[in-house]
């Protein structure tokens, strides 16, 4: 049985759990884990005040309970696998550098913010600022992959510098705001206006998108690299169709107020 932390009852105010990741707990004894510091609002507390600890340490960690008010789950993790059984709070997977974090429910805002590597999988939906930047920072996510099986909120991939964000459902407004590079794939609709102030990078949409007038149409074609990306996402369990993988995409370049080196690829009807 993997090391399992079970939340006894939902905290009344947000509980911050930075450091709860498999790589950091793998070598610790149970007493050390129970004594780890967590922040309940503005109060310092011990992990055992909120969680029951069971199982053995290793490369796998499981966290259970109503975790909607638990923040920073898996933040900074570098290796191993963390499974969150249910919903998770804000900043889940923030600053991740490796390993795999699977949330079996929804995640709050700022999930995967400033991520550098690894894979964050959200089986439900994600809030705003998915894969975005810490407040005040220019660059957001710098590497790794975020897969969301449900919807995602506004400003997905703000300041994205490198990495892949894929959302099976609908993506909210202002996706790819000020993005520097990297790739955002929205399978179920994309709010307006995507790619505002983007310098480089790719936003992929599978249906009509309202674009800023600072984007210019280039051509309609089948981007060779996109086949790799979409096949990769299908292998990871996202619902990609052959029409999407083999289809033609309209290429719009922008943002013209910046370098115009970015692109928004929009699937065209029919192959």
């Amino acid at each position: 049985m993997p090391l399992t932390l079970t939340l006894r009852e939902p905290p009344t105010v947000p509980l911050e759990t930075e450091g709860l990741s498999p790589d950091r707990l793998a070598t610790r004894r149970r007493g050390e884990i129970e004594a780890l510091t967590v922040w309940h609002g503005n109060r310092r507390a011990q992990l055992a005040d909120f969680f029951a600890v069971s199982g053995n340490g290793g490369e796998e960690l499981r966290v259970e309970g109503d975790l909607r008010r638990v923040k920073f789950l898996g933040a900074g993790m570098t290796d191993g696998r963390l499974t969150v059984a249910g919903d998770a709070g804000m900043h889940t997977g923030a600053d991740m550098r490796g390993g795999e974090l699977v949330v079996e429910g929804d995640v709050g805002d700022f999930a995967g913010v400033n991520m550098h590597g690894g894979r964050l999988v959200v089986e439900g939906s994600a809030g705003h600022q998915l894969g975005g930047a810490h407040p005040g920072e220019r660059a957001g996510m710098r590497g790794g992959e975020i897969l969301v099986h449900g919807d995602a909120g506004d400003q997905v991939g703000t300041g994205l510098r490198r990495g892949l964000i894929a959302v099976a459902g609908r993506v909210g407004d202002a996706a790819g705001l000020r993005m520097l590079a990297g790739t955002i794939v929205a399978l179920g609709g994309l709010g307006a206006p995507p790619g505002a102030a983007m310098r480089r990078g790719t936003i992929v949409a599978m249906s009509h998108v309202t674009l800023l007038p600072t984007f210019a149409f280039a051509c309609s074609y089948r981007p060779p690299f996109l086949r790799l990306y979409l096949r990769h996402l299908r292998a990871l369990g996202l619902p990609l169709t052959d029409d999407q993988i083999e289809g033609r995409y309209a290429r719009w370049c922008g943002d013209g107020l910046e370098l115009r080196r970015g692109e928004i690829l929009i699937l065209e009807a029919g192959r």
């Binding site: 990495g163 480089r200 074609y221 060779p224 690299f225 086949r227 790799l228 990306y229 096949r231 080196r261």
Partner: protein, 300 residues
């Protein structure tokens, strides 16, 4: 030693290390993937005159390629790492980048890699873009037809060159029939290529020449027309034609396997004799005895 009706000479092939890479080419149709692969592997029969040896390894199903399109796998060998890196850039740049609808990927795993796409990207003249997926970087080079996608780094590995069998027959038709059967059998082996035209070479060579500056010249001891002129001949009296098949491979095991299949096929197809070329054991570290290749020969 007898195998079918062929006399198998109790000798060995002498193989030596070469550095190899596997290139995966995909395209909108198998025909265009083949066009690129043929061009890529053209004029690459021998390091002596071509600086590399290359050939098509096999066709790939869409399920086997990175982008899900039909493809071809080719192997390219050169004497050293630096030479291999140069040949990859030259040949992919001239033969794959230029070919309509193709994309080009590394087909080997291994710790040692050389920069290919990272060099070819400069053709994009500043409009190129890169993508990093699953730890691999790809370059998107804009071209008139659309976009050329090429992987940045190609793995290279130390392989084996110089595997060979030599097929003797009463006349050209018989030698060709046996050699074609042998080449067809060898092509069923993965990780090997037969770099000569159709897999078969009629001009086996020896090291050096009486003329200064020539590093290789005709192997007169296996030329039937010279049997009465040379001080030593390896051509039996009833033999009128000799053909050779050279095999390069990523592993010694694959080269041995190809030689074994070729030897059996040539014997079945009517070769009167089968032998192998070597340099007296002085050139390469790998010795492949014909006796050890086929179980029926071991007890002979």
């Amino acid at each position: 030693m007898r195998l079918s009706d062929a006399e198998v000479v109790d000798t060995f092939a002498e193989a030596f290390p070469m550095w190899g890479a596997r290139i995966i080419i995909t395209a909108e149709s198998p025909a265009w993937a083949h066009e690129a692969a043929r061009s890529l592997t053209g004029f690459a029969t021998s390091v002596i005159g071509c600086k590399c040896e290359a050939g098509i390894e096999r066709e790939l199903d869409p399920a086997e390629t990175p982008d899900g399109r039909a493809g071809v796998s080719a192997l390219l060998f050169a004497s050293d790492r630096e030479g291999l890196a140069k040949r990859l850039v030259e040949r992919i740049g001239q033969s794959v980048l230029t070919c309509p609808t193709t994309a080009c990927f590394n087909g080997l795993d291994g710790p040692e890699t050389v920069d290919v796409g990272g060099q070819l990207r400069f053709f994009g003249d500043g409009y190129q873009a890169s993508k990093l997926l699953d730890g691999r970087r790809y370059w998107r080079v804009p071209v008139m037809e659309g976009e050329f996608l090429v992987e940045e780094r190609f793995a290279i590995a130390e392989g084996v060159a110089g595997g060979n069998i030599i097929i003797l027959s009463r006349d050209v038709a018989g030698a060709l029939r046996a050699a074609e059967a042998a080449a067809a059998a060898m092509r069923t082996v993965r990780e090997v290529i037969l770099p000569f035209p159709g897999g078969i070479v009629r001009s086996g060579s020896k090291v050096g020449s009486r003329y200064s500056g020539l590093v290789a010249s005709t192997n007169e001891s296996l030329c039937p027309t010279l049997r009465a002129q040379v001080p030593h001949t390896d051509v039996p009296p009833d033999v009128g034609s000799v053909l050779e098949i050279v095999i390069d491979g990523l592993t010694l095991e694959a080269v041995r396997d190809a030689m074994a299949r070729g030897l059996e096929a040539a014997a079945r197809a009517g070769a009167s004799h089968v032998t192998a070329g070597n340099y007296g054991g002085n050139l390469g570290p790998h010795r492949i005895d014909l006796r050890d290749l086929v179980p029926a020969l071991r007890d002979d």
